[in-house]
């Protein structure tokens, strides 16, 4: 049954059951801007047949961290919110900043373009602060790292965006969050409520795909995630056979693997939740009861992974160009991954009888994680001595600069490959390339 209300003189039908307080907000009793926030969430809920709003139970994470000048429409909304004195109920974290001239060097032309592109960065960060940003270090796509501290509990209801963080929170932590868009996540954080549908419900968390991993060795996380994402798109997969390779406990290594795999499922498809047999919290608890009847089956073997990897188009102008930069850490690296990558680069340098990487190589990680890593003087100094730099930027936003996009950039991130001209290589391949300085085998 439809209800209706008057919004700025315009009649709007809605289907959700709203409380008196929610209806009052919709009717403008807390001002026009809050009414628009509510209207957006009610329309959003109605599309997905949500029956009601539910309270969020943990701080939010926002996806929009960049002040790109042409996103004026977004800044206008932020102004409306700030001018109305509206803030989020709890402090939030946000995705990485786009720039770090100290650690990711740019030529004058690139800098000029960045200056134009991200000309609103300072203004936008000020808008974020006014809205409820946690602190000046709260810029990372991996807000759930212990050092960053935005860590929900199993069962928490979230209003997050950032596809890699949402899929991690749902799958590895067992929190409940839909794949919200930028701005929608902010509206939920302001209202303290989100419409209840899809991944917030038991039914919506059931798997409609069974993915059977039948590879001869541990699959590359980012290629496995890519294959799953491209196949199941926005459905929920239940992955069998992966625990054989990454274990039955959510160790730091297993969580890092799932972080990288999940980011690829979310960017190469639109996966918001996956279950891993014997490993992720709901799969451990509910086992195969999580799989819907008549779930489709996708078998992944060595040949399938090879097929997927070979399907990635090469969009460098010169396919055999010498690379000029290497990004490792999209999503941001954990502390353990910074240690592992330092060791990996060290071993490769020994193997190639070199002391420094030949290719400008940048590891990206959250500001608080980098601070933790710097406390480990031995590893930090070793990494710097290899010629590798550490930054907390978003490589994707760096590559959005059309001048930077012309560079031959290599990465081990399937997300970065998807959105930019960067070329994907496996961890083993990229280690060798970074040290050698070229892509020839």
């Amino acid at each position: 049954m439809l209800s209706d209300y008057q919004f700025k003189g315009v009649k709007m039908d809605y289907k959700m059951k709203l409380t008196e307080d929610e209806l009052a907000i919709l009717n403008g009793e807390k001002g026009e801007v809050m009414a628009k926030v509510m209207k957006s969430l009610v329309m959003y809920g109605d599309v997905f047949n949500a029956k009601r709003m539910v309270e969020i139970s943990a701080p939010s994470h926002f996806v929009t961290s960049f002040g790109i000048s042409i996103m004026k429409a977004v800044f206008d909304i932020m102004d409306e919110i700030n001018n109305a004195g509206i803030t989020t109920i709890e402090k939030f974290t946000v995705d990485p900043r786009p720039l770090d001239y100290d650690n990711v060097k740019c030529n004058p032309l690139e800098k000029l373009v960045f200056g134009i592109m991200y000309g609103k960065q300072e203004d936008y960060e000020e808008q974020l602060k006014k809205t409820g940003l946690k602190d000046s270090n709260a810029f990372s796509c991996t807000c759930y790292m212990e050092e960053v501290g935005n860590i929900p509990k199993k069962g928490d209801i979230l209003s997050w965006a950032e596809s890699s963080a949402v899929v991690y929170a749902n799958s590895v932590i067992g929190a409940r969050c839909n794949r919200n868009s930028a701005l929608i996540e902010m509206f939920g954080a302001i209202l303290g409520k989100v419409p209840e549908f899809d991944l917030l419900t038991d039914e919506g968390r059931k798997a409609t795909w069974v993915v059977e991993v039948k590879t001869s060795k541990k699959p590359e996380a980012q290629v496995l995630g890519s294959a799953i994402g491209m196949k199941v798109m926005s459905d929920v997969p239940y992955i069998k056979g992966l625990d054989k390779f990454i274990g039955k406990e959510l160790s730091e290594q297993a969580k890092d693997y799932l972080k990288d795999m999940g980011a690829a499922t979310a960017s190469n498809g639109a996966v918001g939740l996956y279950h891993v047999d014997n490993l992720t919290p709901e799969a451990v608890e509910l086992k195969h009861a999580l799989i819907q009847e008549n779930a489709k089956v996708y078998v992944i073997d060595d040949a399938e992974l090879e097929r997927v990897k070979n399907s990635y188009p090469i969009i460098w102008k010169k396919p055999d160009a010498k690379p000029s930069r290497c990004f490792i850490g999209c999503p941001h690296l954990s502390y353990n991954q910074l240690i592992e990558w330092t060791d990996r680069i060290g071993r490769e340098l020994d193997k190639q009888k070199k002391t420094k990487v030949a290719l400008e190589t940048i590891f990206t990680s959250a500001p608080d994680v980098v601070a933790h890593f710097k406390e480990n003087k031995e590893y930090h100094e070793r990494l710097l001595s290899y010629g590798v730099r550490i930054s907390s930027i978003c490589p994707l936003m760096y590559m959005n600069n059309p001048i930077c996009a012309k560079r031959a950039v290599v990465t081990n991130s399937n997300k970065l490959r998807t959105y930019t001209t960067a070329r994907y290589y496996t961890d083993e391949e990229i280690t060798s390339i970074a040290v050698r300085g070229d892509i020839s085998k």
């Binding site: 209207k39 957006s40 930028a182 994402g229 798109m233 059309p402």
Partner: protein
């Protein structure tokens, strides 16, 4: 030959436009970002993984697709495209709309003066029938006529 399909209104409206068709999920950020960042007056698809839309004109078209995929910035990208006058006139989904696509068209509707008329649940028959360059008429009740 004219064929009629009935879907569900997400953002109701009346519009007529030429179709551009993606047979698979459209990655909104990857498709729109290059043209928006380059301040083009028209969006040409820039997603290297989507050969259906790659380098095709999208602004002002009736964009026919199963769903959107990819980054959660997608909704904001659609809203910004609408505010800049770069959005498609209509988005016509064969499947149920996804959360990012829905957010984009709702944000455009509530927070900008530009509307992207949106209908979902049009069915696989719709996507099988419609081809690039056909004339698509969307009616207020969610009826879509392709000819």
């Amino acid at each position: 030959m004219k064929k009629e399909f009935k879907g569900r209104n997400v953002v109701a409206g009346t519009v007529q436009a030429q179709s551009v068709v993606s047979r698979k999920g459209m990655n909104t950020l990857a498709t729109f970002q290059k043209s928006i960042l380059a301040k083009k007056k028209t969006v040409f698809g820039s997603d290297q993984n989507n050969e259906d839309l790659y380098k095709k004109e999208i602004t002002g078209k009736a964009l026919c697709l199963p769903k959107t995929i990819g980054s959660t910035t997608g909704g904001m990208v659609l809203q910004s495209a609408a505010a800049l006058g770069l959005a498609p006139k209509a988005m016509l989904f064969s499947e149920s709309i996804d959360s990012i696509g829905a957010a984009g068209v709702i944000l455009a509707d509530v927070w900008t003066v530009h509307k992207i008329v949106t209908v979902d649940n049009l069915g696989q028959d719709f996507l099988d029938y419609v081809k690039d360059g056909m004339t698509v008429t969307v009616k207020e009740d969610g009826t879509v006529i392709v000819e």
